[in-house]
Amino acid sequence: MWQAIKSVLAAFLGVQKDARRREDFASNRPGTFIAAGLLVGLVFVLLVAFVAVLAAR
């Protein structure tokens, strides 16, 4: 899972090592990556909302 989260974070930034990418694609459990994507996406949205609430105070 931690591996998947790291890959999702790299995808958010848009930079990934080729070796790591090969490793990820060797895995046959896409569900882990989808879950990690949704989780990190949710955290990002909450983070933006938190900053907006702070700024609006």
Partner: protein, 374 residues
């Protein structure tokens, strides 16, 4: 190489240090409010950030093109990736963007804070003029283009403020927070005064808010900046900022004049008086469509020799008071006083060869407006 670098650095320094005043007329104005200064400095900071990025990126590119050119035997590198360099060139723009967004958001937040205003003004766009209402003060008027028709038609010399002058400017006190409530009676207009850093759409059925606190007395000019039809270019905005004492005097004078106007509706008006006043009203509100000579133009019907209008005075008054839905003919119920409606109807019935001889009394109109208002 070293002299080239020195030359570039020297050139850059002189460009950066050249007074901004030199850019007068090209750059946006600094303006006369705290917000306008904030916007100006944001604009300049972001501009210089862009310049620095441009110089670095294009400098690196041109240097590489020149230094590693084919004729000097350069060979292309074939490596695939370099994660740390990629992270750096992704993170730096991210930081720059966040760095620009923080002060920009702070300014936006300030612009939207219309609370605790000292004065509220309703600004209504109409084809093709602005109406200003000092809320709670019983003072309201329309501000029409002040440029004479001859200048527009090209038969007169154009003045200094050609198409940027009005018959009655919006008068505001300096140092006070003035809230502007913008809306429209017909189509979308936009109220724009660069020196005040206000550019806000006036939309029918919406009330948009903005605010200004002008710091220096003066006259600030702007224009409608949303294409709103035939005379879009002929509805400028002029704001006259005056000291608060002067503003109070002006407001008292306007209130007095409004009270006099209302009471003068009760007395009998002579034909000459009505015609004179009517011509004035016609010139500022009606002539842009129906034309100075009453002949109309395009979709705008002629009033000279208009049988339907001359046959029925009630029909005529109804059109002026209520407008004609589905056409550009606006309702003047809230724009004109009873005296002005009576005068303009009388004028239209007796000008340009119309010889109805009718004189419509302001008291009749006042009664009619009161009946319809119920």
């Amino acid at each position: 190489m070293r002299t080239l670098l020195a030359w570039i650095a020297g050139g850059l320094t002189s460009v950066v240090l050249t007074p901004v005043a030199l850019a007068d007329g090209w750059n946006m104005p600094v303006g006369v409010t705290a917000i306008s200064r904030d916007i100006y400095s944001l604009h300049m900071i972001i501009f210089w950030i862009c310049v620095v990025i441009g110089v670095i990126v294009f400098g690196a590119m041109f240097y590489s093109l020149f230094r590693y050119r084919h004729s000097r035997g350069a060979k292309a590198a074939t490596f695939h990736e370099h994660t740390s360099v990629e992270v750096i060139w992704t993170a730096i723009p991210l930081l720059i963007l966040v760095g620009m967004a923080v002060p920009a958001t702070a300014t936006l937040k300030n612009m939207y804070d219309t609370s605790e205003a000292d004065l509220d003004i309703m600004v209504t766009g109409q084809q093709w003029r602005w109406r200003y209402e000092y809320l709670g003060e019983d003072v309201a008027f329309t501000s029409n283009l002040g440029t004479p028709r001859e200048q527009i038609n090209g038969t007169g010399e154009k003045g200094e403020y050609y198409l940027l002058e009005v018959d009655e400017p919006l008068v505001l006190p300096v140092g006070q927070k003035v809230r502007l409530l913008l809306t429209s009676d017909d189509v979308i207009h936009s109220w724009w005064v660069p020196d005040l850093a206000v550019k806000q759409d006036a939309i029918p059925g919406f009330v948009n808010e903005n605010w200004v606190r002008i710091e220096e007395p003066g006259i600030y000019r702007g224009q409608c900046t949303e294409l709103c039809g035939k005379d879009h270019a002929f509805m400028p905005v002029v704001v006259e900022a005056v000291k608060p004492e002067r503003f109070d005097e002006w407001l008292a004078e306007r209130k007095e004049a409004a009270a006099q106007e209302a009471s003068s509706a009760d007395r009998e008006w002579a034909m000459d008086e009505l015609m004179e006043r009517g011509q004035q009203v016609y010139g500022s509100l009606c002539a842009s469509c129906h034309q100075e000579d009453g002949q109309g133009i395009g979709n705008f019907p002629a009033l000279a020799g208009n049988e339907a209008m001359l046959d029925d005075v009630d029909w005529h008054i109804d059109r002026v008071v209520n407008g004609v839905s589905g056409t550009a003919m606006a309702s003047f119920r809230n724009t004109l006083s009873a005296v002005e409606i009576a005068a303009v109807v009388t004028y239209e019935r007796n000008a340009w060869g119309n010889e109805s001889g009718d004189s419509v009394q302001p008291s009749e109109i006042a009664e009619r407006l009161a009946d319809q208002g119920e």
